[in-house]
Symmetry: C2
Subunit: 571 residues, 2 copies
């Protein structure tokens, strides 16, 4: 009796402790052991049982096969040393014992009756149909690991977790924590990252690398703020004059082929591409091709007409402009398989329209207020998008600062302050958290406007990963409204960013919210998610990103990364 109780205690200590430093985001349920296990990357096989069952390989979607190939390559190439003093050399004796087993296979299967779709198809299903859950078992005895899911998308997530289990030293790929048992699913359906490709341009290759990094953290939505007042790089069929005159150069354009390339690459990685063409503000550059549609273009001083230079907004009261915009968005929508499309709607400047003779003439002649005209304008764009099956997404001002008609399935992005989420929810809109006080990756880089040497970033200070990590998606949200919170995203506005610092300003920080919205408030052992235990795991993700060519920033001196807690503020 005493013996068996003791054994149970030992079992708890050695098998159930979720001690893995590698996993990000932390799975919902995890148990790990303390048995070393090796993997011979060159011989390791990842098999799909459901394909064999049905007897023909076409049942394995091509993008799942590619995902398997990527995982196989990562197991060979990551060469990720354990973040401990000595760099894993201390593990060599543990894994060189003849008793250490070698695992040769990961067997993947879909649950019985599952519909086999490609990962890309799963990634763009309506939110309520998306399923990223998976279960993963890695036995300690060298027998095959198993990965099961309802969807290929779930299998992709499981493969991503599997990759994070393994370390490398002196040619050996190994874990010290077999057996591993994981049952996992995301807490929130929307886990995003936003990139602004208009202030500064980013080539397709940079976006693809960003999608790779997103997928490592199981982020599932690439919110692509494609256009703004500074440039219009998106080439929209039927409206090519807009990018021809509005892109920074002929080479700084996303052609439909580029978009398809990005959308495909994202889909293969379980990522939905939510494009945004911000309207009616943030549109000055359309003046270059369509001066008739833009009020206060480059008006001076810009601060009277816009939150940043250059001023310029679509003439929302003009039926011709509304028609043009709706047609533009309608045409752009065909480029993207996502069920969503963002029409933006932030930072509308009323003075721009007050000073615009044409707008005033239309308002006077129709007897409309500016708000009524805005309602009509937004309605026209949303109707156009709905006609091609898109659910509109807007920035928070559209529901908090304006009195316009919006259908209640519209998704609202909260950005000005985390405090504003509750008000959006109270209006019964679904929302995505992107608060500048937690999630803006550009904050803290100082003033970028010219001739202001003592100016600071408007959203100073810098949002560290740990500041972001303390965000509570349910703060001030009533239980009744909890279902309205779809998730959240970290965002990069690119006034001071370009391909030069894309990786370093985004990673690993943007993975901070990835864990908030995947893991939720509680770790597998029941303790609250916290920055103390998160840091060693985030270091791991960061070093693995670097191994894969993503230039993620160092969060601390390497000295600290290999000595958890020794560099804590009160250590």
């Amino acid at each position: 009796m005493v013996y068996s109780v003791l054994c149970a205690v030992i079992a708890i200590l050695t098998v159930s402790m979720p001690s893995s430093h590698a996993l990000w985001p932390m799975p919902k349920s995890l148990s790990t052991g303390s048995t070393p296990l090796k993997l011979t990357a060159s011989q390791f096989k990842i098999t799909t049982e459901f394909a064999e069952t049905h007897g023909h390989s076409t049942n394995t979607p091509a993008d799942l096969t590619q995902a398997i190939q990527r995982t196989t390559a990562h197991l060979q190439n990551d060469k990720m040393e354990r973040l401990v003093v000595g760099g894993g050399a201390a593990d060599k004796s543990a894994i060189s014992s003849k008793q250490v087993k070698t695992i040769n296979e990961l067997s993947m299967s879909l649950v019985k009756g599952a519909v086999v779709r490609s990962i890309a198809e799963e990634a763009v299903l309506p939110l309520e149909q998306r399923n990223e859950a998976y279960e993963l078992q890695v036995p300690a005895d060298g027998s095959s690991a198993t990965l099961t899911a309802n969807t290929t998308l779930g299998l992709l997530r499981g493969l991503t977790t599997f990759e994070q289990l393994w370390y490398f030293v002196d040619g050996e790929v190994y874990t010290l924590e077999a057996p591993v048992e994981i049952a996992d699913r995301p807490s929130y359906v929307y886990r995003g990252f936003m990139l602004d490709t208009a202030r500064n341009f980013f080539p397709v290759s940079d976006i693809k690398r960003t999608l790779d990094a997103m997928s490592m953290a199981k982020l599932n939505t690439f919110h692509w703020h494609a256009t703004d007042s500074q440039s219009f790089p998106l080439q929209v069929p039927g409206f090519t004059e807009v990018s021809a005159k509005g892109a920074y150069s002929a080479s700084m354009v996303f052609t439909p082929d580029d978009v398809q390339d990005i959308v495909t690459y994202a889909g293969e990685r379980g990522i939905d591409v939510l494009v945004e063409i911000d309207t009616p503000g943030h549109t000055m550059i359309i003046h270059e091709s369509h001066p008739e549609h833009v009020a206060c273009a480059q008006a001076s001083p810009w601060s009277n007409f816009a939150n940043e230079p250059p001023a310029g907004q679509l003439r929302l009261a003009s039926p011709a402009t509304a028609n043009f915009t709706a047609s533009l968005l309608h045409a752009a929508a065909h480029l993207f398989p996502s069920p969503f499309f963002s029409t933006g709607g932030d930072e509308l400047n009323a003075n721009c329209y007050d000073q615009d003779a044409e707008t005033q003439q239309i308002l006077n002649s129709t007897g409309q207020t500016l708000e009524q005209a805005l309602s009509g304008f937004v309605g026209a764009t949303h109707t156009a998008l709905r006609s091609v099956g898109k659910t509109p997404v807007v920035w928070e001002e559209m529901v908090l600062d304006h009195d316009i008609e919006l259908e209640n399935d519209t998704v609202v992005m909260v950005w000005i302050s985390s405090q504003n989420a509750a008000a959006v929810a109270e209006k019964n809109f679904r929302l995505v958290h992107g608060p500048s006080d937690y999630f803006y990756l550009d904050c803290g880089a100082g003033e970028w406007l010219g001739v202001d040497p003592t100016g600071n970033s408007w959203c100073d200070p810098f949002k560290t990963w740990s500041k972001s990590y303390t965000f509570d998606p349910m703060a001030n949200i009533s239980d009744a409204n909890a279902h309205l919170v779809l998730g959240g995203e970290q965002l990069l506005w690119t006034e001071q960013s370009s391909p030069s610092n894309l990786d370093s300003i985004v990673w690993p920080r943007a993975a901070s919210s990835a864990e908030i919205f995947w893991t939720g408030a509680t770790l597998p052992d029941g303790s609250p998610r916290n920055v103390g235990t998160a840091l060693p795991r985030l270091h791991d993700l960061r070093y693995r990103m670097v191994q894969r060519g993503i230039q993620a920033i160092a969060l601390q001196p390497h000295f600290c990364a290999i000595r958890p807690e020794e560099c804590d503020v009160n250590a």
Copy 2:
């Protein structure tokens, strides 16, 4: 009479206006015209007259020949478009006229009687002998450009300026501003950049790329903070155990060959490598190989013993430790041709020694105070360095916070506050400005210590290029002490930096002080140096860096970079 006055006015307007957007740092004297001039990069020749004069090519030092080859390559490969709307396409008509001349040669010569030394030799001469002056004339009529200087180092600086004169569009290399006449020399003899390779490690390739960028801005001193408490990557002959046990890994070491590689590369680019082995603080990691020499190693809580983790300082009162340190520095000094060597000396923590039984025993037995022991320790290291011809460099605390004997040729680096420079000068020490309130490139990235999610960077906010640019080297310095100001440097401490963000956190910001200390307070037209006219030129430098593979950050949206002043705060 009226005609000739008019002509004179026109001449002033078209020839003397220093309108070039490209030059950084701005030369001391500059006149540019408005005549287009082309250069056929593949046929352009850079010749050295002084070699021909003496009749044998050995008179052209190998590193000058290499500099010429680099300039030739840059002229071909920079492909730098002019930062204007349309990207230089508007210049095509101006340069396609048949009247536009093509320049075929840059003829370089040393002034009569000049001693011919290599660039690398010139770069490490005693400060008072260094000469970086040059004169450059680029005629508008297609005749040869001429570059003259007293030294090969001056010729290198002139070549660097010459490279910045040229833009590219559609296969044509051109300027719109011929003729160009420049007479140039630096205002300050020390123009540096400091990199910490101890908090995080940087491979040789990253340091070389940094030296390339430094040379583009005519920076002449690479202050290499090689070691610290976190790691000791510098392999010192005779003391290889220190790096063997103190480097992060066997591959994160600078061998003597690596050092030679760096020193050679720097010298070829006119850069002196001022190495720092910080002592007696910031030395915990020496405990790994020499526990006998280190007090309070990794003592907890670290904040009682050090300004950041880990705690650990050399036992300065111990004769054995002083001897060890002096010998270590003496051995390291042989690796570097610089006339300087920094012994550091910042942030000494008295409590570490108060709590160290061995230190207390020595102090008690010798009847010394800690300050007296410190004076002896520093004296021992400085004597060792002087014995091999090095002038010691120290951080400001050594003269402002401690009462120790220091010879008055010691160079003092001011870092805690720009306010402290005057006090150092009052003590009659030569000084280098590196104030954290202007020049610390790491500031503003948030707290890096663990478990402090609301913590900010200790030196918040981020130091923008324009904040740095407003630094006045002579503020509070009396005229009588002006000669003590050697120059200044921007610095990167690497708690939150690694190769991933090296370029983007350093460039183009570190070029800000390069202009302060080269150009001085006044622009060639007599107006004060100012952030308004600097920004377009700094954009130019930044874009040219990107063309050369240096991942310099975008300072503004590209929209603003091609529209000077339109994004100014009050535009």
